[in-house]
């Protein structure tokens, strides 16, 4: 059984890791760099990720390119929840890793998307160069190739949003009780 699953894993992972379709999601300056990566000079198509999907239902990967503010956060979590499993996240840019230059005293910026959704690859830089984004995609592919179908349940459990959607008339995300929020910073 184990052998059959490993063989299956190999084929399954090879296939999906070579066609990771990202969601079109760019919230500020890092987005320009992401667009540049998909253009002819850097050509993300070499790694099978050229199809930027406008709908989360067809995407495997969300590259959070840009600052996430409190107003945007519910939209991001909703998009993430609408993506089908298995789904992956690349946190692109200092803003989405820790809050970046807004980390100290901004009133509106979320200090890192890992407080909202689980992140697979952290990509620091302000903004990261297109080569760095390509490297992040390659790292993600490597990660995908190590996964096995046997761990599916664990994976799905670990890949839940870490906050609750707002209730009633509110527009602010609420903390989730069960999952501990990652705290960076000094």
């Amino acid at each position: 059984m184990q052998i059959i699953i490993s063989a299956l894993d190999y084929v399954y992972n090879w296939a999906r890791s070579n066609s990771v379709w990202p969601l079109t999601f760019a919230t500020s300056c890092c987005g320009i760099e992401m667009i540049c990566t998909s253009a002819s000079k850097y050509d993300i198509a070499r790694f099978g990720s050229e199809v930027f999907r406008p709908s989360p239902r067809q995407a495997d990967l969300i590259i959070t390119a840009g600052t996430i503010t409190h107003k945007m956060a519910p939209a991001l979590v909703r998009l993430y929840e609408q993506m089908p499993e298995p789904k992956y996240v690349i946190a692109m840019g200092a803003c989405t890793v820790t809050g970046g230059m807004y980390e100290n005293d901004s009133y509106s910026v979320v200090r890192g998307v890992d407080r909202l959704i689980p992140v697979d690859v952290y990509l620091p830089g302000c903004p990261p160069r297109p080569e760095a984004l390509l490297d992040a995609v390659i790292q993600l592919q490597k990660k995908m190739r190590t996964e096995t179908l046997l761990d599916r349940k664990k994976y799905i459990e670990a890949h839940k949003p870490r906050v609750k959607m707002p209730e009633g008339d509110s527009e602010l995300l609420l903390p989730c009780d069960e999952i501990e929020i990652v705290r960076w910073g000094v």
């Binding site: 409190h70 107003k71 809050g99 980390e103 100290n104 009133y107 509106s108 979320v110 200090r111 407080r115 870490r162 906050v163 008339d169 509110s170 527009e171 602010l172 995300l173 609420l174 903390p175 929020i181 705290r183 960076w184 910073g185």
Partner: protein
């Protein structure tokens, strides 16, 4: 007729004038704002028919609001500055004269909490609806329990 003569003729009470690179800055009384803008807008010669921006400032003892006007006829700029109290700050809305005042005034209300009297839809524009406080005030502290997950 020079601009200052024009102002004097119409009895506009400007207490301080200052030539900035982009044009003239006038300090006027809060109560005169609407009447003053109406004169400036309807005058054939000066015709300040466009409101470029409304900017609020917290000066600790009071708030200042800066209105940038532009004339598409003479291509000149004019800034009007008014002061308002820190407790219960309010000023007449310019929406009836310039429709571009709508969002600018909403932004000013959102971030500084200045009330624009007779504004048709004075709601928050940039921050979430149920945000507490006005973050560009100097004494603002974020003490919202719901945002505890975002502490650094």
């Amino acid at each position: 007729m020079s601009f200052y003569e024009f102002l004097n003729n119409h009895g506009i009470d400007y207490s301080q004038e200052q030539e900035a690179s982009g044009g003239v800055v006038l300090s006027i009384k809060k109560e005169d704002l609407l009447a003053c803008c109406e004169i400036l807008k309807t005058d054939r010669l000066f015709n300040y028919d466009m409101l470029l921006s409304v900017t609020g400032m917290d000066c600790r003892t009071h708030f200042e609001i800066l209105y940038d006007l532009y004339s598409t006829r003479s291509h000149s700029r004019l800034s009007l500055k008014i002061k308002t109290d820190r407790v219960n700050p309010n000023v007449e809305s310019l929406y009836s004269l310039y429709s571009s005042a709508d969002w600018h005034e909403r932004e000013c209300f959102d971030l500084l909490g200045i009330e624009f009297v007779n504004h048709p839809n004075l709601e928050r524009i940039l921050l979430p609806k149920d945000w507490i406080g006005h973050p560009l005030r100097k004494d603002y502290n974020q003490e919202d329990e719901r945002l505890c997950w975002n502490k650094r």
